[in-house]
Amino acid sequence: MHHQIVRRAGAERETLWVLLAAGVILASATLAVGLRAAPDAEAPLAAHLIDSRTGLTAAEQGLYADLKAAGEEIVALRTAAGRAPTPEELAAEALPPFAADPSAAARGGHTWTFAETGHEIAYAGVSAAPELAGSLVLRLDGHGADIWLKRAAEAPPAPPEDAALSAAGWKRIVSTFTAGVNR
């Protein structure tokens, strides 16, 4: 007599395989994500630095860009004239942020002074409205521009050297280049 055992209708085996496959996919995805995770946020900036993208107010961001652009022009004017231009001369050239225009008033109404020590020149802008934009220092030493900020209506220490500025609570503004995310 011939016996045949017929498995009852159901999908236990298929379900098992599907669950197993899903488990393998999940495990490999978890492994891949774990191994390829984006690096943690960069180390926080040193206490005497401040990031231009995240740390500044809108007015300060505008002033910082203006000071960077002014730095190049001041170096060119200094080379041509043999001496550094005064803030009044820069204002006469309509060079922002030295020009006394409505934009300067809307961004803290800074009063600019100027000091030259050896090869280094520094322009200090004392803010009239530190809640809009802090006081700023632009230093040029022939190798590029350094820009420092303090959120107070306060002149920088003289001479405005790194250690003195840091000790007085000033922060150097730094900016980073970030390429397009889809490049």
């Binding site: 946020a41 231009s52 993208r53 995240t54 809108a58 007015a59 961001q61 505008g62 910082y64 860009a65 203006d66 960077k68 652009a69 190049e72 022009e73 060119a76 309509a94 060079l95 922002p96 020009a99 225009d101 409505p102 934009s103 008033a105 809307a106 961004r107 809009l132 503004i173 900016s175 980073t176 280049f177 970030t178 390429a179 397009g180 995310v181 889809n182 490049r183």
Partner: protein
């Protein structure tokens, strides 16, 4: 026989034509001795580079005029054009991300690239594009006088490095051009000095104008579009209108060339004054295009500030 002899000159003609067709692009691509060819991707960069190099080099837009750079897909003929360049000037921070793939696929994958924004203090992306804690930056640094001046200086320096014989001329041209750009801003601010308010609560349709508004001490309170040219959903629109009312926005800046029906809805619902900026990505490439369009943008901004004065 007569038929054959008649055909012979035609064949020669066809052969000559075919040879000319093959030779022409090669001749067009080959740079004339001494005169460099610098590629650009966007309209403002054409104006920058054309003013920096003057007659000393040729500026080659790799995208034909008329394409929206926000929605451009590389085409083979545009990739071919890259093969004849000596260098290319890029925005590099999100407005011409297609260029990297085009250069890699071109006959010159190692083409020198000038990152125009290398020295620009970048702002985080605005609106819905703002994510990843400021890692995504606003790519519209060209819609600003100061950041254009910074880019012009970088481009002149880098092109001078690639073409040392003309470096001094590039530097001098860049300074003269930057002075003209600064004058545009000074003229606009002079108009503002007589009438107008220096503080304004602003919303924009496209998140492109943060750099420009920073120059005037203005901050954008709200951005309407989820992405360029993409209309917000009714729910997003309702939320935006509520936000604008809550923030007491005084002025909305929309965009020329991108008229959108929903902008009128916002204006009607909120009663806020509406002005249009140019994104400077339309029309033919021209050396003076940037100055013309930027002067118009500055006039628009001054008008908005003057009319919002109490």
């Amino acid at each position: 026989m007569s038929l054959f002899s008649n055909r012979r000159p035609n064949r020669r003609l066809i052969l000559a034509g075919a040879l000319a067709a093959v030779a022409l692009p090669v001749r067009a691509v080959a740079a004339p001795a001494g005169r460099r060819r610098f590629g650009v991707t966007l309209h403002p960069y054409y104006s920058y580079v054309a003013n920096i190099v003057g007659d000393a080099a040729e500026v080659v837009p790799i995208i034909p005029a008329g394409f929206n750079p926000h929605a451009y897909e590389p085409r083979p003929e545009d990739i071919q054009r890259i093969g004849g360049l000596d260098a290319i000037v890029l925005n590099g921070i999100g407005h011409d991300d297609f260029a990297g793939r085009m250069i890699a696929a071109s006959a010159k994958p190692a083409l020198p690239v000038v990152e125009a924004n290398a020295d620009v203090p970048l702002l985080p992306a605005a609106g819905m594009a703002a994510r990843a804690a400021g890692k995504v930056v606003n790519p519209h640094s060209f819609l600003s006088i100061t950041n254009s001046v910074l880019q012009v200086a970088t481009i002149a320096r880098e092109l001078g490095r690639l073409d040392p014989d003309n470096a001094a001329a590039y530097a001098a041209n860049a300074r003269a051009y930057s002075r003209r750009l600064r004058q545009l801003r000074a003229d606009a601010l002079a108009k503002l000095a007589t009438a107008g308010t220096a503080s304004l609560r602003v919303a924009t349709i496209h998140g492109a104008y943060d750099y420009l508004l920073r120059e005037f001490g203005l901050e954008v309170s709200a951005v309407v579009e989820p992405a360029h040219g993409i209309e917000p959903s009714p729910a997003q629109l309702a939320e935006t209108i509520a936000t604008m009312r809550k923030l007491d926005v005084q002025v909305i800046f929309s965009e020329l060339n991108f008229p959108s029906a929903y902008v009128e809805t916002i204006r009607r619902e909120t009663g806020i004054r509406l002005y249009a900026f140019s994104h400077i990505s339309h029309g033919d490439y021209a050396p003076d295009l940037f100055e013309r369009e930027m002067a118009r943008n500055l006039d628009t901004l001054v008008l908005a500030m003057a009319e919002a004065a109490p």
